[in-house]
């Protein structure tokens, strides 16, 4: 649970990562100058719409992009080892062993003709060449049991289609964790599941993280999942990080209009019925020809609050916001805190806004903690 491996470097350090795909239509600027870190035992949530580069950036961590069709620049260091530019042999050693990935669609990710046990055992044998098949099988049963599959010694000989959706996802988590990886990347692990099953899977991931002290990257578009799972959040838009910081900071004091938009697009299950769902107008930007200046300016409802043509002409830097505490934002707005509290929050969560206003009146800077008591 103590963050940081022995040498003090973070488990994963992505620095200035840029991913480009040359296509017939032009260069797809999938990820641009992205930086983040994940410490051991911590969880990073990456949020954004489809096409924001969240999956592409994490696939780069596993070296899953074809060297011929992707141009990758920058640096990705997993446990001190550089990924960008390393050869396939190195990658094969890392994949599944140090870094593992679980995918959104478990049915598509599991081989339909091979028994679950065989697929799990294969993942184990690849990284334990000296192990016998019997050991691999025992280890697979152990993992299936650990992820909560009933009668694992019998179910291990099932085919993926004989498992329910939740069980397949569990089997995939078991496969991801069978080699005890230091870093687990979960790409929309619960999107295809029902809420009750989703709750089971999220709890399982948290339990396993406590047990194995691994770092987790959870890629999702569901801010609720992020709120429950993540220690830190990275909000991506148009291939760039636009807001980055501790989860509570981002959720209570978001400072970038795109994050506001995400928060206002999803209603809360216990929200005040006076809350509005305020859409983000327009569509995600084209990555072939990204907008000038701030990538979000064509959809941003707060452009007029920035003097001049700044948003359209100059790309804001990802810099620390006024609140400090490792909260970075990419926005020209001078006083985002005030705009969020007085304009956005009253519309999307009137009950919270009132409490917040009272708290501000009491000059309570750390209002977050006592925003309870709205029933």
């Amino acid at each position: 649970m103590s963050p940081g491996p022995a040498d003090g470097a973070p488990l994963l350090a992505v620095d200035n990562l840029t991913v480009r795909f040359p296509t017939a239509d032009g260069l797809v600027q999938a990820v641009t100058e992205l930086s983040y870190t994940v410490e051991q035992g911590r969880t990073l949530g990456i949020v954004g719409e489809s096409g924001s580069g969240k999956s592409v950036s994490s696939m780069a961590v596993l070296g899953l992009h074809d060297a011929h069709s992707a141009r990758i620049a920058g640096s990705i260091k997993v446990a001190g080892e550089e990924i960008v530019g390393s050869d396939e042999k190195t990658m094969r050693r890392l994949r599944g062993n140090t870094v593992a990935m679980i995918f959104q669609d478990a049915l598509a990710a599991l081989h339909p003709f091979k028994r679950i046990g065989k697929q799990l055992g294969e993942a184990y044998l690849v990284h334990h060449p000296d192990a016998t098949k019997r050991e691999a099988r025992r280890r697979s049963i152990q993992m299936l049991e650990r992820v909560g599959i009933p009668q694992p010694d019998r179910r291990i000989d099932d085919f993926p289609h004989q498992f329910s959706g939740g069980m397949r996802q569990r089997a995939m988590i078991a496969m991801g964790l069978i080699n005890d990886p230091a870093l687990l990347i979960a790409d929309e692990p619960t999107t295809a599941l029902d809420v009750t099953v989703q709750a089971q899977i999220l709890d399982l991931l948290q339990d396993l993280q406590r047990e194995f002290n691994s770092g987790i990257i959870i890629i999702t578009h569901d801010l609720g999942v992020v709120a429950e799972m993540a220690d830190d959040v990275l909000v991506m838009y148009g291939g760039r990080g636009v807001e980055y910081g501790p989860t509570r900071e981002i959720l209570i004091h978001p400072q970038m209009p795109y994050t506001w938009g995400l928060l206002s697009s999803v209603p809360d299950v216990h929200a005040d019925p006076n809350a509005r769902m305020i859409p983000i107008t327009g569509n995600p930007p084209s990555l072939l020809d990204p907008p000038s200046g701030c990538p979000f300016h064509p959809r941003c409802a707060h452009v007029q609050k920035v003097p001049g043509d700044l948003c359209r002409t100059i790309l804001p830097e990802l810099v620390p916001g006024p609140r400090g505490g490792g909260h970075l934002k990419r926005c020209h707005l001078v006083d985002p805190e005030e705009i969020y509290a007085t304009e956005v929050l009253p519309e999307i969560a009137p009950d919270l806004a009132e409490v917040g206003a009272d708290a501000r009146a009491d000059a309570g800077a750390g209002a977050g903690a006592d925003v309870r008591g709205d029933g």
């Binding site: 009750t196 569901d222 429950e228 209603p267 216990h270 019925p273 995600p284 409802a301 519309e347 309870r372």
Partner: protein, 459 residues
């Protein structure tokens, strides 16, 4: 109706939005054509004024659709011997009402029968049993020929905007098909009507000649909505209309649906698994589990005072941004295992195999759907708010030896016999009937002595 829509005849909306104040969110959205030069985005204040708060309940609305004891059992055929070896009881005796111009939400996990219900109402399937009264017709029994005019009144929006539009047809032809099939407008006016419809749902009317692949997911869903609107239906079955869309686009479509309801008075049966979106759109919600309705209530009762352990578990499983933001997370009720097979559902209460409070009675008897509040019905032997489930089953009198004569039985029968909401309901605190008249007396455990006397005969 769209034809009388004030903006219907206005010039195409690809003009700059700054010229005049937009009056509906669709106008704002229409300006973002597929390749249109993006104008400046609307100011936040004007954007807010075009959105909706949660839809409110009209308690006086008459039902437009009354579903009674609807069943759909799909036969299971053996591959070897060609005979029926069993039935998938997808929908097994559900009753509800959809108010005219209002919305009923239908939620539940996958496989609970909510989509089948939608497909029964649109008569994509013919139900095994039950009735669906719509405007004086029983949709469950009308023949193919009699159904055709009724199809104009009941339309559907599908979940997946990619597979529900024919990729080889232009948008114009997709939206025009229902107009042609039902001869709604003269041939010469079809195109202008299509353009009006596209405009109503916030698409550029000049894009009628494009193919679905030229549109994004949210825009395709709008095309599906325009197609459903073409016949000016009274009832729209929306089967997971936003769950395939990106988060930022979901709010656009939800606001569009609310717009259309206000403008044209369309009733929605809103089928979704996202409890939060349903809460926003539907003032009344029914929760389904394995082919049955386990709880149906208005928004406040269901989300704040759920009485069924399944509803409570569902609500507790939803990740909650606000909850996490204010620190700590809600206590979760973990449901173990998976939904049982609808081919061979558990005896008695179908939820009992996963229910944290199940007892023997739950395996023996199926709980009736009892009315326990002015607009709140629940099917549970131990109905109660979270943490306050009664020790003794509230339905016990039904199964007692003298059940036939007991006034308690008659009371329980009375509160579980209506399709909609009756004037009297079971007061769980006292076990007596109470009624509307007593409502203003406050929240105390008044028993309504005058009402709990000898039972009325029930149908």
């Amino acid at each position: 109706m769209p034809a009388d829509h004030p903006e219907g005849s206005a010039s195409p909306v690809d003009a700059a939005p700054g010229e005049s104040e937009p009056t509906s969110i669709q106008q704002v959205l229409a300006t973002e054509g597929v390749d249109a030069e993006p104008g400046p985005p609307p100011e936040f204040e004007s954007l807010v004024s075009l959105t909706h708060r949660a839809t409110t309940l009209d308690p006086t609305a008459e039902p437009v659709l009354t579903v009674r004891d609807l069943k759909m059992h799909f036969p299971l055929r053996s591959a070897v011997v060609r005979r029926t070896v069993g039935y998938v009881q997808a929908v097994d005796g559900i009753s509800f009402e959809v108010p005219r111009g209002g919305s009923l939400g239908l939620v539940g996990e996958s496989g609970c029968g909510k989509s089948t219900t939608g497909q029964l109402i649109t008569r994509l399937y013919k139900p095994t049993a039950g009735s669906m009264m719509f405007e004086g017709h029983d949709l469950a029994t009308v023949g193919k020929k009699a159904m055709k005019p009724l199809r104009r009144e009941v339309q559907m929006i599908f979940q997946d905007p990619y597979s529900s539009l024919n990729p080889r047809h232009t948008v114009g032809s997709i939206v025009a098909t229902p107009l042609r099939t039902h001869d709604v407008v003269p041939r010469s006016q079809v195109l202008s009507r299509v353009q009006e419809l596209l405009e109503v749902v916030g698409l550029n009317p000049e894009h009628y000649n494009r193919y679905p692949n030229e549109f994004s997911g949210g825009q395709r869903q709008r095309i599906g909505i325009a197609r459903a609107l073409a016949l000016q239906p009274k009832l729209l079955v929306a089967d997971e209309p936003v769950s395939a869309l990106d988060v930022s686009i979901q709010a656009q479509v939800v606001n569009l649906l609310q717009d259309l309801q206000q403008e044209f008075g369309i009733a929605y049966l809103f089928i979704a698994h996202d409890l939060a979106v349903v809460r926003h759109v539907c003032p009344e919600v029914a929760v389904m589990y394995l082919g049955k309705i386990v709880e149906i209530a208005d928004r406040e009762s269901l989300y704040e005072h759920a009485h069924h352990p399944y509803t409570q578990a569902l609500l507790s499983a939803v990740p909650d941004v606000k909850q996490a933001a204010i620190g700590g997370r809600r206590e979760r009720i973990m449901l173990t295992g998976d939904v049982p097979s609808p081919i061979n559902p558990p005896s008695g209460c179908r939820f009992r195999t996963r229910c944290p409070i199940a007892q023997d009675i739950c395996a023996r008897h199926e709980p009736p759907l009892m009315q326990i509040g002015p607009r709140h019905k629940v099917a549970c032997h131990f109905a109660g708010e979270l943490g306050h489930h009664p020790v003794q089953p509230v339905t016990a009198p039904l199964y007692a030896d003298d059940a036939d004569r007991s006034p308690q039985t008659a009371r329980l029968t009375e509160v579980s016999s209506e399709v909609g909401y009756g004037p009297r309901w079971l007061d769980l605190a006292t076990g007596d009937l109470t009624g509307e008249r007593r409502k203003d007396a406050g929240g105390g455990p008044e028993s309504g002595q005058d009402l709990s006397g000898p039972p009325l005969t029930t149908g």
